[in-house]
Amino acid sequence: MNTRIRSSLIGGLFGFAIALISGGFAGILAGLVAGLINGFSVPQAEPLNNRAGAVRQGLVASLIASVLTILGIVIRSVLIDPVIGTPLNITSLLISIIGALILGIPVCVIMCVIRTEPPARERIGLAIVIGIVLVTYPWLDQFLNLRFMNEVIPVLVFILMALGLNIVVGYAGLLDLGYAAFFAIGAYAAGMVSSPHFGISWSFWLAIWVAAAVAALFGLILGSPTLPLRGDYLAIVTLGFGEIVPIAIKNLDKVTINIWNYPLLVDFDFTGGTKGINPINRPWLPVIGEFSPSTPIPWYFLILGIMLISIFFISRLRNSRLGRAWTALREDELAAGAMGINTVNVKLLAFAIGATVSGLAGAFYGSYISAIFPESFRFDVSVMLLCMVILGGLGNMSGVILGGIIIQFADRLFLPQFSTVVQKLIVASGNESLREVNFASDFRLLLFGLTLVLMMILRPQGLVPSGRAARVMPPVKVEVPHD
């Protein structure tokens, strides 16, 4: 009972926060999220196949979550909205509450029922629920007039990158602090071959493969000098590469190469410098035509498709001979070498495959925003990705996706909305001194930093620990060495 209440409280708190911060019809979404999270975190019911019990359980849990969510909606509409200048609208308040209940309770009950099924059917059931939510989300977003789509797409791009980083850090145990560099390399490779920059204007569908290949090649090139290094030295060298790549991209806009007074290149604009490359071609498909920035739905399904394909390949790799070799390498390099694993190839493949995933993400991102700038691939991107991987659980894909969703939504949706609300409250309260504080940009770093530190101290194995990663991040016995 205890864990059940806890899971409904977790779901309810998420719903509460979303409803409180976003306002409008986001309350309905909050109900859905509360139901989903509640269902996920509910423990496997004992005994199995007790449907009636599961329905009862789901009803109780979803009621607790709904109460919190509705509390959020009510506080937002009754207390906050009038202060920040939106008058209280009883009809929309009632619609929000009813919508939250209608979406939240059935979802939670269904999830609870699924959780009582035997494992094989449970997995299929969960996949179906997630699939339905993912596929219907764009229309839900449109219907509720939330306009979250333009944030959801970058969120998916970053989750894709986190999955790639998870190969390097989680599976192979190589702490890579310069992972954003491959994102940049992929984006630039794709941008160079499909934009007016060099006059090469290939289709997106071709450019994305070029990006993946170039990123993989750079994964090999940058990975090879780090082969003899381990642990924190490896981390620092990859960090160095992660910084050199954006510097190089920024400054390779006037390349002049003279070989003994014979000018090979004069002021050759290689990367576009700080201006970046702009515009980059957008994908084109027969029925849809060229993807346009104003209709996000095709983009959403494109990135979702790339992600699903990557997830499929990564999970296959994970269980292959190579995947086991990565685990062996991570656990004990010396023993892995002694068992006949070619550690050089295995390490390089981890770098290259991780870089490939990032290259795909980069090509998509460049095409999506139709421009790329060297400044968008700095160290904080790498650290944010690391945060996502660690929060969810090193070496566990569903954990990484969960961590990615939490960090990204906090960064892109929660903080900006929170900032707007607080700004308006401050303005309304007449206190001028805090007016210039921009919570969205000013608390990002704190969020990442605290996540890393607290996770390391409280739960180094992540929210969803991976069975195999147990030795890398052993659960900490909280036992402070005494003075």
Partner: protein, 363 residues
């Protein structure tokens, strides 16, 4: 910890592969610029001398920060990633104190000098205390239980927290600070020009101001003080013993945790001093300056041989000079890349650094 020789088991010569990759890269891309650079240096010796002196001044403060890395790494084998940001907080703290004492360029020297010394000591105390608290709260409970990766990730987290503190510090508008933080929180903060800028080598075409001398002088005093502390006192001996073998040191009755705290305190104090000196010297401080400074200093510590105090000083000096030369002869834009490149090259060719011994990379 017994040092294993992994290369005896592996069939593939990893280090050699990495080295070949770096050599090919260097030959391809760096030969011609290097020749051009040497030509330019010979052409104008006065400019070279000026840059070398700038390098010495930069090297002094880099050495101060590098010592913090080296002290901590020598004892707990942790790359204290947050150290660069501690230096930034030191600059901010000293700027706030300068504002609180309402020091300006008008203040007479008889008042200015003692107050500056007080500010220096207070700043060192502030950063030392902060570093100690961080060790206690964030790193200590990960020692021994988690892997080293856990401590490093925690340190990166602390670095981001510090950076954010610096960012929020910019919003402070207490009346007693006399508006030193300016009106824009994110913008670089400017220090009043409190150090005299008289050129000591006036008329020779070479510039080495009194403020350079002060920065170098204070740094050298602190460096010598630290060296004497570590090599002559009982506490210093305890530090060296703990660095060599923590368990044996504990058996000999040394309080290991306190000794580690001491390393953090000393490193923090030096970082704070460095932050204040750089703030006064360059006249600005910005919340994200710790990242670059930290990486340069870490490179310096690795170059000198991490864990080695004299090595960190030497490395700091070298990195200071290299970056000053790179600023002049390559381009300011590329200096960071040059420093990172050097770091990569050292780690690949000689991870023990110039003065380090072979036990450094205990994996």
């Amino acid at each position: 910890m017994a040092t294993m020789r992994p290369s005896a088991i592996r069939t593939v010569p990893w280090r050699l592969l990495g080295q070949i990759a770096v050599v090919i890269f260097c030959l391809l891309f760096l030969t011609i610029p290097f020749v051009e650079m040497v030509k330019a240096m010979i052409a104008d010796p006065q400019l070279l001398a000026r840059q070398l002196l700038i390098g010495v001044t930069n090297g002094a403060y880099i050495a101060l920060i590098a010592l913090g890395y080296t002290l901590v790494y020598g004892i707990v084998e942790l790359i204290n990633f947050a150290h660069g940001d501690l230096y930034m907080l030191g600059a901010f703290f000293s700027l706030s104190l300068i504002g609180a004492f309402s020091l300006t360029t008008e203040t007479p020297w008889s008042i200015r000098a003692p107050i500056l010394i007080v500010v220096l000591i207070a700043t060192m105390g502030f950063t030392a205390g902060l570093n100690m608290l961080v060790d206690r709260w964030a790193y200590r409970r990960l020692r021994g239980v988690g892997s080293r990766m856990a401590s490093l990730i925690s340190a990166i987290g602390i670095s981001f927290v510090f950076q954010n503190l610096g960012l929020l510090w910019g919003y402070l508008r207490f009346p007693f600070m006399n508006g030193v933080m300016g009106s824009n929180a994110v913008a670089p903060k400017s220090f009043p020009a409190l150090l005299p800028s008289v050129n000591l080598f006036a008329g020779t075409g070479v510039r080495f101001g009194a403020k350079d001398l002060i920065v170098v002088g204070v740094s050298v005093v602190l460096l010598i003080g630290l060296y004497l502390f570590v090599s002559k006192t009982r506490l210093g001996k305890a530090m060296r013993a703990t660095a060599q073998d923590r368990d044996a040191a504990a058996l000999m009755g040394i309080d290991v945790n306190r000794t580690i705290s001491l390393a953090f305190v000393l490193g923090g104090a030096l970082a704070g001093a460095s932050g204040m000196l750089v703030g006064l010297y360059n006249g600005t401080a910005v919340f994200d300056m710790g990242f670059t400074a930290g990486l340069r200093s870490f490179t310096a510590a690795v170059l000198g041989g991490i864990g080695n105090i004299v090595g960190a000083m030497l490395g700091g000096l070298l990195i200071g000079i290299i970056s000053a030369l790179s600023d002049q002869y390559i381009s300011t834009k590329w200096t960071n890349a040059v420093v990172f490149g050097i770091l990569v090259i050292i780690l690949v060719f000689r991870p023990t650094g110039l003065l380090g011994d072979d036990t450094v990379q205990k994996a």
